[in-house]
């Protein structure tokens, strides 16, 4: 019999730990990739070259610049060896706690998102291209033949509600940072963040009610499973086909929640310098920036999971492709899982690109326009969207 930790089989515990750590590292790396692509993409849009100078010297006079990616590394090292500047804050505890309030929820909200389907380790390692791995295939086949887990940190039945709860915590970071920094610009940034958050939270929640109503699931696993079904035998039942209006409402509300460009008034450089994290420097500032980039990735993940079928690949079942024209391509379990992971990543990358493109193409709103858009346009439209959905379902659609 295997030993246990906290009443849980030790292999299960380490599997959870491995999945949680892998997804955390993925989010952290995506934050780095986003800060790189932000520079490069803005450079492309503005007809510049972008970051390209920092490089690791290699022998024979060559340099390893990795298309400017080394600049990120240089930035991180630079911030790490900057002075740990402590301004005269009102409240030192809150000043330091705000960093954690901004960073942890950004990473944590992804905990309920499935990154791929069920993995059966005993079967997974039997694929011909994974047989070279020592020890693991034999171990799982001999000891845990029917152990399986989902590539998801936690399978909570509250799903979306967890995301809204954790996402709502995020604003405490901005408010506490703005209030405790003892600076008027920070205070204004914090207040703006608060009013913006309460204006867009409702539209964000309301726009997803149609999705929940159609699929009858609130846990993201169920939503993804429901979206991998086919309508009329060929069209995957993705949210974008069933709820096109909700997609646009959600993208607007989510970008506003993240304080991104058309809505970035809490940190508008030209008005209030850099808003609520003005008095933070060194790596503290970088963690705020990081949290923001991770939130963009999270919005991309939400759009993927709710409107584009999450990890599901069209017509890919557990045993291979079943195309609507009748042909069948059998695939091994490991190939299916890897295809699902790749499909999820590609969709997420696409939406990251789209959100970056939005950030660099749209001008900033005026503040009353931001509030009007949230309350007078998005909220009624999301209620109308829900009413239309109910009427269509009641008349026998979907």
């Amino acid at each position: 019999m295997q030993s246990t930790i906290l009443g849980i089989n030790i292999v299960y515990f380490w599997t959870y730990f491995f999945v949680a750590g892998a997804i955390f590292i993925f989010m952290f790396m995506m934050g780095a990739v986003m800060s790189w692509s932000e520079r490069k993409q803005s450079a492309q849009l503005q007809d510049r070259i972008g970051a390209n100078r920092a490089a690791i010297p290699l022998p024979f006079g060559k340099k390893l610049a990795l298309w400017g990616f080394i600049n990120n590394l240089a930035d991180a090292i630079k911030c790490l060896i900057k002075e740990d500047f402590r301004p005269q804050a009102y409240d030192k505890l809150m000043y330091n706690l705000a960093i954690f309030f901004a960073f942890i929820p950004a990473v944590l909200a992804v905990a309920v998102v499935p990154f791929a389907g069920v993995v059966k380790p005993a079967e997974f390692f039997q694929a011909w291209y994974l047989k070279w791995i020592p020890w693991l295939p034999e171990y799982f086949a001999a000891n845990l033949p029917d152990f399986s887990f989902r590539v998801q940190v936690a399978n909570l039945n509250v799903g979306l509600l967890f995301i809204f709860a954790i996402g709502g915590l995020n604003v405490f970071g901005s408010i506490l940072a703005g209030w405790s920094s003892n600076n008027k610009f920070s205070m204004m940034g914090g207040l703006r963040a608060a009013s913006q958050m309460i204006s867009y939270e409702i539209s964000m929640g309301m726009s997803l009610l149609g999705i929940i109503f159609i699929y009858q699931h609130i846990d993201l696993w169920g939503l993804v499973q429901a979206q991998s079904d086919l309508a009329w035998g060929w069209l995957p039942k993705w949210g974008i086909f069933l709820q096109p209006l909700a997609f646009f409402l959600f993208i607007a509300a989510a970008v506003a929640e993240n304080k991104r460009m058309p809505f970035d008034l809490p940190e508008a450089e030209s008005e209030i310098i850099s808003g609520y994290f003005l008095e933070y420097s060194g790596f503290k500032m970088l963690l705020f920036m990081f949290a923001e980039f991770i939130e963009i990735v999270f919005v991309a993940i939400m759009l993927t999971t709710l409107f584009f079928g999450g990890f599901s690949v069209p017509w890919l079942m557990a045993d291979g492709f079943h195309f609507p024209w009748g042909s069948y391509v059998p695939l091994s379990h490991a190939s299916v899982v890897i295809l699902q992971i790749i499909s999820f990543q590609l969709k997420v990358f696409f939406f990251c690109w789209l959100l970056q493109q939005l950030r660099w193409s749209l001008p900033r709103f005026r503040y009353d326009q931001v509030m009007d858009l949230g309350w007078k346009i998005l909220l009624p439209l999301s209620i109308v969207n829900l009413i239309i959905t109910i009427i269509i379902v009641a008349l026998g659609g979907f």
Binding site: P87, Q88, N183, F283, K284, L287
Partner: protein, 122 residues
């Protein structure tokens, strides 16, 4: 229950430890604040280059309190709609009609707030 929420706890711990470790490393590696006594104004909040004209510890008029109140009300409606949305299809025709009546009254409340200019940003 433990098995469901333990990974979430793990994730919180991983994130908090990473952030804490990075901040501790920053404090350790960065130059120390040697001049704290010599340059006391370094740590004061800045305005536009000059010294502070007023104290920052002043009360701020939060003008969006009306919107904040409306947020609480509409959020409660949304909370009521979530459990309905999950079970909505099993309630049948009467369920659909009832929720449409509820949404109608929600819209009435919204139009009332709109017409009374409660949503205007002043």
């Amino acid at each position: 229950m433990t098995e469901q929420y333990l990974p979430v706890l793990l994730m919180i711990l991983i994130a908090a430890l990473t952030a804490g470790l990075i901040l501790a490393l920053n404090a350790l590696l960065g130059p120390k604040q040697k001049h704290r006594k010599d340059f006391p104004s370094k740590r004061t909040p800045f305005e536009c280059g000059s010294d502070l004209l007023q104290d920052n510890n002043r009360r701020v008029s939060i003008r969006f309190y009306l919107i904040a109140l409306l947020f609480v009300l509409f959020d409660l409606e949304a909370i009521l709609l979530y459990p309905w949305a999950i079970t909505g299809r099993s309630l049948g025709t009467i369920g659909y009609i009832e929720i449409l009546i509820f949404l109608f009254f929600l819209m009435v409340a919204f139009v009332f707030a709109y017409r009374r200019k409660a949503l205007d940003w002043r």
